[in-house]
Amino acid sequence: MYDVIRENPRARWNMASSSNSPCAACKFLRRKCQPECVFAPYFPPDQPQKFANVHKVFGASNVTKLLNELHPHQREDAVNSLAFEADMRLRDPVYGCVGLISVLQHQLRQLQMEISCAKSELSKYQNLGITGHGLIAAAANNYNHQQNLGINLIGGGGGVRDHHHHYHHQFFPRDQQQMIRSFDGGNNYDASLLAMNVSANLQLSQFPQPRAAAGDDRRTIDPS
């Protein structure tokens, strides 16, 4: 029968229970790893560099004191954060992880400035949305007064002669009537778009629908 231990004496050490193998800290410190070793749960033997870094920056005794002041359930996070800080300090002996903090703060400041600029640009659009009613109404009224159109685009003009009303029924070819109907885009917007304050689009939904019936089909724009 093949005797693993005889053939490979080192296997005795490996085949022992895992709790007997020294942790990375005790291996580094060349001491016997006691069962109650405070480092053993957090410095496994397969990660020797982790303890080496922590020891170099903080020292074993300081880490022991730190861990002893914490609850057991906090120790793993504390060890991992200490290992991270030690690693950063060894990579950058001047700034350590403060260098990373500085970079992140700079990045955050940049983002906040960009947000601020974007929000001010957005507010311009939102303000234009409110006053855009007046702009489109004024443009349409301008056409209305100057050219005596039979069409009432925006009903607030009041300068249209009554007998022109039937003109737009008779003399607009069918394709133009289709175009007017297509301006009624307000009904096609869903609530999410309305919620984003795009009320300027609702202007063009106020076009009178061409109908055979006579009567006042003027509509007014809701200035809201």
Binding site: F58, C97, L100, Q147
Partner: protein, 170 residues
């Protein structure tokens, strides 16, 4: 030779502060708390070793960073400076989301503006067509039609005269 007043480190260690004390320039006795945190987290010998490995012109900054890290660790024994890093990362993620959302809203409004411009152009076209209709002669739009669109007006008068003459009674 030694410093007239001991630095915070040598005071804490209760020893004489030599002239070439590595820590003296960065841990004055006026701020004992600064060194106390460093001593608790890093220890005197580790701090001295870290500063000694650096050129003189970088030691002040390094001492400030070591002091910051040790103070963070004293205030938050579990996460220390890593807690600050984590918080900043979360804030950055939130800010990035907000920026993307705001830029999306701007893009939406841009699209709306372009749509409005297109619609205004179409309005203008309709106005132009309507203007052409308005400019047509009035008789075309009324029920009266010109029965003789191409007749010479003089011929029409001659005809009327001849009819009148023939109807004269002797």
């Amino acid at each position: 030779m030694s410093h007239s007043t001991r630095c915070a480190a040598c005071k804490s260690l209760r020893k004489r502060c030599p002239e070439d004390c590595v820590l003296a320039p960065y841990f004055p006795p006026t701020d004992p708390q600064r060194y106390a945190c460093v001593h608790k987290i890093f220890g005197a010998s580790n701090t001295t070793n870290m500063l000694q490995q650096l050129p003189m012109h970088l030691r002040a900054e390094a001492a400030d960073c070591i002091s910051f890290e040790s103070r963070s660790r004293v205030e938050d024994p579990v996460y220390g400076s890593v807690g600050i890093i984590t918080q900043l990362q979360e804030q950055i993620i939130t800010a990035q989301s907000e920026l993307v959302k705001t830029k999306g809203e701007i893009a939406f409004h841009n699209a709306q503006q372009q749509l409005q411009q297109q619609q205004m152009q179409q309005l203008q076209m309709i106005h132009a067509i309507a203007q052409e209709v308005e400019d047509q002669p009035l008789w075309l739009s009324s029920s009266q039609q010109d029965p003789f669109p191409n007749v010479n007006q003089q011929l029409l008068e001659d005809y009327n005269y001849s009819n009148t003459f023939c109807g004269f009674e002797f």
